[in-house]
Amino acid sequence: MVSAVRAPEIWWNAVAGVLDPEVPVLSVVDLGIVRDVREDGDTVVVDVTPTYSGCPAMRVIERDIVQALQAAGAGAVRVNTVFTPAWTTDWISEDARERLRAYGIAPPSGRAPVAAELVPLLHRTPAVACPQCRSERTEQRSEFGSTACKAIWYCTDCRQPFEYLKAI
């Protein structure tokens, strides 16, 4: 039973315990997927925004959010999808970026690119440091990786491929 006295912090904390199923060192709050948590009468309402349109993890995330809130004592839970503003990796905090690196995934390099031209013919991604040895002598192998949000990079110093969370 949700009473007006209980601070919404309890719901925020419950949601902050939900990890991204693909990147289990980041919570859905770290990623900026959760835009708002509030009470509407007896219902806890969570606004989420998708990372990528086709990200299959979104359904799992919605299910996990509902379960986490119910475990924290929420009665009814409603998960809303909001599209504006569109998700950006700029919302990932410094602390979360460091955890990502420690997990072996290079965090987004710099801010999300602002398109200068329609189709850049000589596009350069800012230097991406290898999450293992920190060398910046790395190169992109493919802009597409194991999930929509990651690219495949290669470190020419430690000679290992690694994943990079694309700045978008």
Binding site: P50, Y52, S53, G54, A86, P120, L121, S142, G145
Partner: protein
């Protein structure tokens, strides 16, 4: 009921092209490309799903995105013909992806300013994705155009063959003119020149020739499709139709 009809045009373009791209899964020329095409396919099908759900909501007859995707017949699909053409060789797939992605960027830039809030939000998200789809295919246009004699010939043939399907992307009719007048849709005809300029710039850099405009195929927006769509739908819809109500 012109908004749902317009949303179906947008979603069907993405659903059908996304399905065509998914046919490459397991058949890409190299592993990275296999993954790239499957990822782009996933983005497009994801965009289509969001738009179909919205179309179903606007229509108000209780149809879900899945019902719209799996239980409509070919004549009810509203995609442009270019999306349904068989995948062809890698050059053909890349050439189509390039022509369509540049159009997609221009169209989505406008639609992200739509007065329809949900459509604007979906368009803003799809725009980010379409930008890197265009980057990916433009990279390949350069590699194939400037590659071997065979790669050059194949990608030039593909561009030449696809050209007569590009006119439909810029077609306006009373429905979209009315929506554009209300600030909900965009004037596609205005996108033609910027599209030609951008496509021409990349083709020139790849030492490829931009074909002259001639006869243009059309009919997809009214449900008049090539024979290829029926085969695609048969494959795409068979599981949902064999096991109605199944969830996975």
């Amino acid at each position: 009921m012109s908004v749902p009809e317009f949303l179906l045009r947008l979603s069907d373009d993405r659903l059908i092209l996304g399905h065509r791209l998914s046919e490459w899964c397991g058949h890409g020329p190299i592993l990275e490309e296999d993954i790239a095409l499957a990822n782009i396919s996933l983005d497009l099908i994801g965009q289509a799903n969001l738009l179909l759900e919205l179309a179903g909501k606007e229509e108000g007859r209780g149809r879900t995105g899945d019902q719209l995707a799996y239980f409509r017949e070919a004549v009810e699909f509203r995609n442009a013909l270019i999306m349904e053409l068989p995948r062809g060789d890698f050059g053909f797939t890349i050439a189509r992806q390039f022509l369509v992605s540049v159009f997609g960027i221009l169209h989505l830039e406008r639609l992200s300013q739509s007065r329809h809030g949900d459509l604007a939000g979906i368009a803003a998200k799809a725009l980010k994705e379409t930008r890197y789809h265009a980057r990916h295919s433009a990279d390949w246009i350069l590699k194939l155009g400037d590659g071997t004699a065979e790669s050059h010939r194949r990608v030039q043939d593909a561009i030449d063959e696809l050209w007569r399907y590009t006119g439909e992307l810029f077609e306006m009719d009373d429905l979209e003119r009315a929506l554009a007048g209300d600030g909900l849709a965009a004037d596609r005809a205005e996108l033609r020149e910027p599209w030609r300029a951008e496509v021409g710039r990349v083709l020139a850099a790849a030492s490829l020739k931009m074909p002259a405009d001639g006869f243009m195929q059309r009919g997809g927006r009214e449900g008049r499709h090539t024979e290829h769509l029926g085969h695609l739908l048969a494959e795409m819809q068979i599981v949902a139709r064999s096991f109605p109500g199944a969830e996975w």
